[in-house]
Amino acid sequence: MHELSICQSLIDQVEQIALTHGAKSVELVKLRIGPLSGVEPLLLQHAYPFASAGTLAAGSTLVIELVPLKVSCEACGIETEAEPGWLVCGACGSCHTTLVSGDEMMLMSVELIAAERTNHV
């Protein structure tokens, strides 16, 4: 499944951020995933412990915020909720719509545990 490879690339990004900030480890990782991203949140959640094992993100919590699917209509200008296979305007039925939200697969933020202050010589 590609969720494992996506998870590995997520962990790479997270570790890089942790290293840049000189953190000891990662506490929490927040994502935003939309139903049209092609990424299955549950599979990502299941892959996370495997992908993070042995990294600075080991044992951290993955929080996935699900983004609603919304389209904006070019014909009537109204914004409505939609379904993945049905991106038609909910108000006037036009299929000339643009996606407002719903295809996100984004790393929003990372919470890091600071390294203990030690006096390096």
């Binding site: 990004q13 299929c95 719509t97 996606l99 996100e104």
Partner: protein, 267 residues
């Protein structure tokens, strides 16, 4: 339910549940999960533009006729363009062989068990493959309607094949994939008279319901039927690509999954 996977976190309690305690720092990131792939894809696109070629990503279910379409296209455009093919589909072992038999350079990516191509695999192939002198580079993706759509390879256009032996409800079932199309080809149209359950009109209306306005064409590569509109589309796309390169511009497919809202969020 449990404290480890986050499934008990609701919008109402999220901040409460994860209030940063002493010693933790929250870092805002706002980057795509596929940022590394996307960076590599940008680099691949620079390779393509440097060579003034048009790069096309072919996606479909296994067996929808991608390789057959390439064979017929090579035959039809032999005197007009130099074509190259990167093969990522392992459904049939001999895809690259079939292309080479047409006298066209083909590179087989051995994806192992991978279910999609990514930008790094394509980049590795590019550095083993002579791009100089090519007009059109086709990338035949792994036969899969699910994840190849999420991985930008650096292509300029996505072409999605739907064979008439599959259901006409495929666009509704695989919206992530079909939304990403710049062109949809209904393939094996010679079989339409034998099938009573595939309606090209229904397939198209399922595509329109995804707010897609891209062209839909019917063809049968194995019978050289309906090839002209497809060949004209290629000619026009190549001319546009040349003009863009001349202006120092590039193009990516109409939809890049996740990318648009990424831009909004980072503004």
């Amino acid at each position: 339910m449990c404290d480890t996977c986050g499934c008990n976190i609701t919008p109402g309690n999220r901040e409460f549940a994860y209030k940063p305690v002493n010693g933790t720092t929250a870092v805002a990131v706002l980057k795509s999960l596929l940022a590394r792939n996307d960076d590599q894809a940008i680099h691949n696109r620079q390779h393509f533009d440097k060579h003034r070629l048009l790069a096309i990503n072919l996606m479909s279910s296994p067996g929808s006729g991608k390789t057959a379409l390439l064979e017929a296209t090579i035959d039809a455009l032999r005197d007009e363009y130099h074509i190259g093919v990167i093969e990522g589909d392992l459904e049939t072992e001999n895809d690259a062989e079939r292309i080479r038999a047409k006298g066209v350079p083909a590179h087989q990516i051995t994806t192992g068990s991978a279910c999609h191509l990514d930008a790094h695999m394509v980049h590795d192939a590019l550095h083993q493959f002579p791009l100089a002198g090519l007009d059109i580079l086709f990338i035949e993706n792994v036969g899969n309607l699910v994840c190849p759509a999420s991985f930008d390879l650096g292509q300029h256009r996505n072409v999605i094949l739907l064979s008439v032996t599959e259901g006409d409800d495929k666009p509704a079932k695989y919206p992530v994939m079909f939304r990403a199309a710049d062109l949809v080809l209904l393939t094996k149209s010679d079989l339409l008279p034998l099938l009573d359950d595939f309606s090209p009109a229904r397939a198209e209306s399922n595509l329109r319901n995804l707010a897609s306005t891209v062209p839909v064409m019917q063809l049968a590569a194995r019978k050289a039927l309906g090839m002209q509109p497809w060949l004209d589309w290629l000619r026009s796309e190549l001319a546009q690509q040349r003009a863009r390169v001349g202006r120092g511009e590039t193009a990516h497919p109409r939809i890049q999954v996740g990318a648009m809202r990424l831009h909004e969020a980072s503004m």
